[in-house]
Symmetry: C2
Subunit: 245 residues, 2 copies
């Protein structure tokens, strides 16, 4: 069965099983050793790069759908997704299948719920589904052009991630259990895409009250051995509420 | 024409004009003189309290739909709405019209995009539409029970509003042009629903770098006349980006 025929068959199935006009798209940021990447798929049919996305079953919660779609399309398991915005401009997706019949599922107008996550990308195994040539991590400095409005979805997710740095802690599961302040600063700098003043960073991060200082030092560097810290799990989760006035 | 018949006629129109399965709901917070309120409507049919909400025309941007629906249902004009979350749990709305035919528009599964705003409520004139008995501001301390999942939508909006206090400035258009620090603190306390330490508040708000101190004092109080401040519009809008690392 050719690709066109497969798309038409799949379209019929979608009309039966899924809610029309609603889709989900995920921006999964991966961090490891000072590199920030994002998970993309390349569609075999159109040879276009997209964020991993899909549709919502009629009997499925929206959030469950986002988790399922991410796993189906990329193989990524246990990635905790957070909804961050809805993308509902006119003609954001309709043009994509313009050569097909009007009744094609994929050609309808879709309003998409955007989800994002930040994970240690070495902990995620990715695979491509049957419609994708590849599914891979790409450095955020070297992204290919994304189709539809996926550039906008990606950019908004990155903005939200950066904003959250200013009021929510990050780092747990991304850094080793014990880390130096400068390793934590490097994580922030990588996500923000710029260097930060060391003294300001120290004062700011201490205000969160989420770090525990240890007796042991990081040895082996050229400079005076810096202290090691870890996250206080209770304070960390308190601070995640973001209500620290 | 009876109410039931009007609902059935309107349902047909909705199927023609709107995107099925998508709705919008708005949480409009109104503030004035240390009172925080939210805009609610009471449905004539079911005698239930709801957030003002509605549907998206097939040829209309999602955000435009939210603005239009708010104006149509409440009369509120020029209220700048921000999308803050999607509500897509199963059975969040379907039960609401359980006595009607399966084909009724309103009985379908709807995933709703939530929008919120914070305005000076004396600047907004509200009116009720044909399906609503009333549209009114209610003190957030004395809310009636809300139908469907509107309590959840409201609660999430309030949480977002409170979180934004910790990284985005608020107050412009809610306070007089010149205000004292303690008037600003009172605004924050009203939104947070609790008192704040005066010294901590002062230090925290000063760190935003958004206030201009004036030579004139607020006279007439029992205590030493406090200094007046206003917002620096440029710094205020910079700070709205929330990227102040």
């Amino acid at each position: 069965m050719g690709l066109d025929q497969r798309i038409i068959e799949k379209s019929k199935l979608m009309w039966e099983q899924c809610l029309p006009h609603i889709s989900v798209d995920s921006v999964v940021f991966g961090f490891h050793e000072n590199q920030l990447k994002v998970l993309l798929i390349k569609m075999t049919a159109a040879q276009l790069w997209l964020l991993p996305g899909g549709y919502v079953y009629k009997n499925e919660d929206l959030h469950d759908a986002a988790q399922r779609v991410l796993t189906e399309r990329t193989g990524a398991q246990r990635v905790y997704l957070q909804e961050f915005g809805v993308f509902g401009a006119l003609n954001r997706s309709e043009e994509f299948f313009k050569d097909y019949d009007e009744g094609l599922w994929y050609k309808q107008r879709f309003i998409s719920a955007g989800f994002y996550a930040l994970v240690d990308y070495t902990a995620v195994n990715v695979i491509a589904d049957e419609y994708s040539e590849t599914c891979e991590w790409r450095n955020i400095d070297e992204l290919p052009e994304l189709a539809m409005d996926h550039q906008l979805i990606y950019t908004n997710a990155l903005t939200i991630l950066r904003q959250q740095l200013s009021y929510k802690p990050i780092g747990m599961n991304l850094l080793p259990e014990k880390f130096t302040i400068s390793e934590l600063q490097k994580l922030y700098e990588t996500i923000l895409g710029r260097t930060l003043n060391r003294g300001n960073f120290y004062r700011r991060i201490m205000r969160f009250g989420i770090l525990v200082k240890h007796e042991d030092l990081r040895k082996g560097g050229a400079h005076k051995a810096p202290f090691l810290y870890s996250f206080d799990p209770h304070q960390y989760h308190e601070s995640l509420q973001g209500l620290d006035w």
